[in-house]
């Protein structure tokens, strides 16, 4: 039996500063040192270690079709992320994974996709976006609409890519910030309000959302009111996942473990689970 706790050594290839606000989010492009690849599907996560400091789980943020590297977008917020943010290209870290379930990309084929992300919540959805936008896959999905929310313009992650995403056929991006800013020509306001303004082909749409718990709760109840069925509203949850393999006992919601039964859940599943996230 393989030891599921042993990480592999990896190297940081590039560090990209994402935010220009007080929220410090960086994207790390990393590769395994032994030349191996980490194959994953959208929705999965990985455990990242910094020796002597600790380990923490992060959702993949890059395309699952890029096999030469993976990307992780990480906010400086705790012990491991603080240490990570001091590392530069060439530094070594350790990885183990992938873990968890995936977005149901096969089931979603043929449907329109509505992506709703708040702040760093866009990171775990980026693998799905890039997977659908790949030329081999784009024809399998209908319209892709995105409602991307951030506190301020400086808080948007991946904004360098938005233009390229918008140029892709049948794709529409609506950006919104919490408060007006000079020179901003996008929307102002919270996503649970703005979602009502989007034209959605209700019977033929999968909504995928990620953001702070309050956003997930408010947006999903709005989408349910609008008539999107529970099983077609998907989200990905964050928990303190120490082991990632269903043993350490930290990430359960009821009898389900976010690390192995999730992190992707539909609102149909969450409605059956105790409200403990």
């Amino acid at each position: 039996m393989n030891n599921p706790y042993l990480p592999q050594k990896a190297e940081i290839m590039e560090v990209i500063q994402e935010t220009t606000s007080d929220l410090d989010i960086k994207t790390y492009r990393v590769k395994l040192l032994d030349g191996g690849t980490i194959s994953f599907m959208p929705g999965q996560f990985i455990e990242l270690s910094i020796p002597g400091v600790g380990e923490a789980p992060f959702g993949f943020a890059s395309s699952p079709l890029d096999t030469g590297y993976i990307e992780l977008s990480i906010k400086r917020v705790g012990l491991v992320t603080e240490a990570l943010h001091s590392l530069k290209a060439g530094s070594k870290i350790w990885l183990r994974g992938p873990f968890g379930n995936t977005f149901p990309v096969k089931e979603m084929e043929g449907s329109n996709i509505l992506i709703i992300a708040g702040g760093l919540g866009l990171a775990p959805l980026r693998p799905l976006i890039l997977y659908m936008f790949d030329e081999r896959n784009r024809c399998k999905y209908g319209d892709v609409q995105m409602l991307l929310a951030a506190r301020s313009t400086g808080d948007f992650i991946y904004r360098r890519e938005f233009e390229a995403w918008e140029r892709i056929m049948d794709t529409n991006i609506i950006k919104t910030i919490d408060r007006p800013e000079e020179g901003w020509n996008g929307k102002v306001g919270f996503p649970h309000i703005l979602v009502g303004e989007i034209e959605i082909d209700i019977p033929n749409t999968y909504a995928v959302l990620c953001g702070p718990p309050i956003m997930i709760k408010s947006v999903s109840s709005r989408l349910l009111e609008m008539g999107i069925p529970k099983f077609k509203i998907l989200t990905t949850l964050e928990m303190r996942m120490t082991c990632g393999v269903g043993k350490c006992g930290k990430c359960n919601i009821g009898h389900q473990y976010v690390c192995i039964d999730g992190p992707v859940f539909s609102m149909a599943q969450l409605a059956e689970m105790p409200a403990e996230y």
């Binding site: 393989n2 599921p4 592999q8 270690s49 002597g52 380990e55 012990l79 928990m239 303190r240 082991c243």
Partner: protein, 328 residues
């Protein structure tokens, strides 16, 4: 499998033989407490009807275990595991190890540290005669006098032990000892359960939402003693440190009774107060493990009841939950 007779006056001879090839862990008097410890002399072993202060779970799942060292590569620790006999384990603790074995070895992933310890351990059970204050294994549907969740099970019958050999590992320990076969396989002592098995029989969301967890957990201090002393509790955290310049990772017991158990780096905590944490403890034991692995993760050993400084009683709590459910 076979039943043999082990005369008590040959027990020391057996133990000394085993000690040559195995680490022998057995009940041993440490101060006032009877605890599982490595014993070096046969005379240190105490096989009686007392229940040990702690279960022997730490010999399979140590409280603190170095699991890896970081260098050019990452090296798993404890590649060499000592062959160990754990002797004198009562039914409650044997059944608890079944629960822990399921959690650590079933499903997609296996905890290789636990598995290695388990594979190198020979478990010798010992029948219990009387329930101790706080014990409720009978209410949990166990037979205190007998269990087959081990490699060999001993039943005290006065001047001798009746040994039931249950696995090859058990058989190996008695090889060459010329022990007599039991004249007729002894009748398995029964432990009739009159009151019915104590379970939480209800739907997860109903128990979660309809129980007054705040009032049930009011007395609880959140000290976590119950989790450390519980033979089925298995939750853990990784702790990293640097030893003489070398980064290492430990795996340490953790407790769902502590606020930091579930706190996110963002500060968000899904179980922010005591009532949520106490609810987790009860529901994990009586519902979640049962749903995931088929066992209720409470064997009625009574240790949490005997050790709780605030007098919390899991048996009364479960009874109260079921009564409330019936009345609602």
């Amino acid at each position: 499998m076979a039943h043999v007779v082990v005369p008590k006056n040959r027990l020391n001879e057996l133990l000394e033989g085993w000690m040559k090839n195995y680490r022998v862990v057995a009940p041993h008097r440490n101060g006032k407490a009877l605890v599982f410890e490595e014993v070096k002399k046969a005379s240190d072993v105490i096989l009686n009807d007392e229940i040990t202060y702690k279960s022997p779970k730490e010999y399979l799942f140590p409280q603190v275990e170095k699991i890896m060292t970081f260098g050019d590569g990452v090296e798993p620790e404890s590649t060499e595991v000592r062959k160990t006999i754990v002797l004198g384990v009562k039914t409650c603790d044997l059944e608890a190890l079944k629960v822990m074995t399921a959690v650590f070895t079933k499903g997609k992933y296996t905890d290789t540290y636990f598995e290695k310890n388990l594979n190198n351990t020979v478990l010798i059970g010992l029948g219990c005669r009387a329930e101790k204050p706080g014990c409720f294994c009978n209410a949990r549907g166990l037979n205190k006098a007998h269990s087959q969740a081990c490699d060999m099970f001993l039943t005290d019958s006065g001047d001798e032990y009746m040994a039931e050999i249950l696995t090859c590992k058990g058989e190996e320990l008695l090889e060459g000892l010329q022990l007599e076969e039991a004249p007729s396989p002894a009748a398995i002592p029964q432990d009739d359960n009159q009151a019915g098995v104590l379970e939480i029989d209800g739907e997860e969301n109903v128990i979660f939402n309809k129980t007054d967890w705040a009032s049930i957990s009011e007395k609880c201090l959140g000290c976590g003693t119950c989790t450390f002393i519980c033979p089925t509790c298995h939750c853990f955290e990784f702790k990293d440190t640097v030893l003489e310049g070398v980064p290492v990772r430990y795996r340490c017991w953790d407790s769902c009774m502590y606020p930091k158990f579930t706190i996110h780096a963002s500060g968000h905590n899904p179980r922010a107060s005591k009532k949520e944490r106490y609810r987790q403890r009860i529901m994990h034991k009586y519902l979640y493990v049962k749903q995931n692995f088929g066992y209720t993760a409470c064997t009625g050993c009574g240790r949490c009841i005997r050790s709780c400084p605030a007098g919390m009683n899991i048996k009364s709590v479960v009874t109260e939950i079921m009564e409330n459910l019936k009345n609602s």
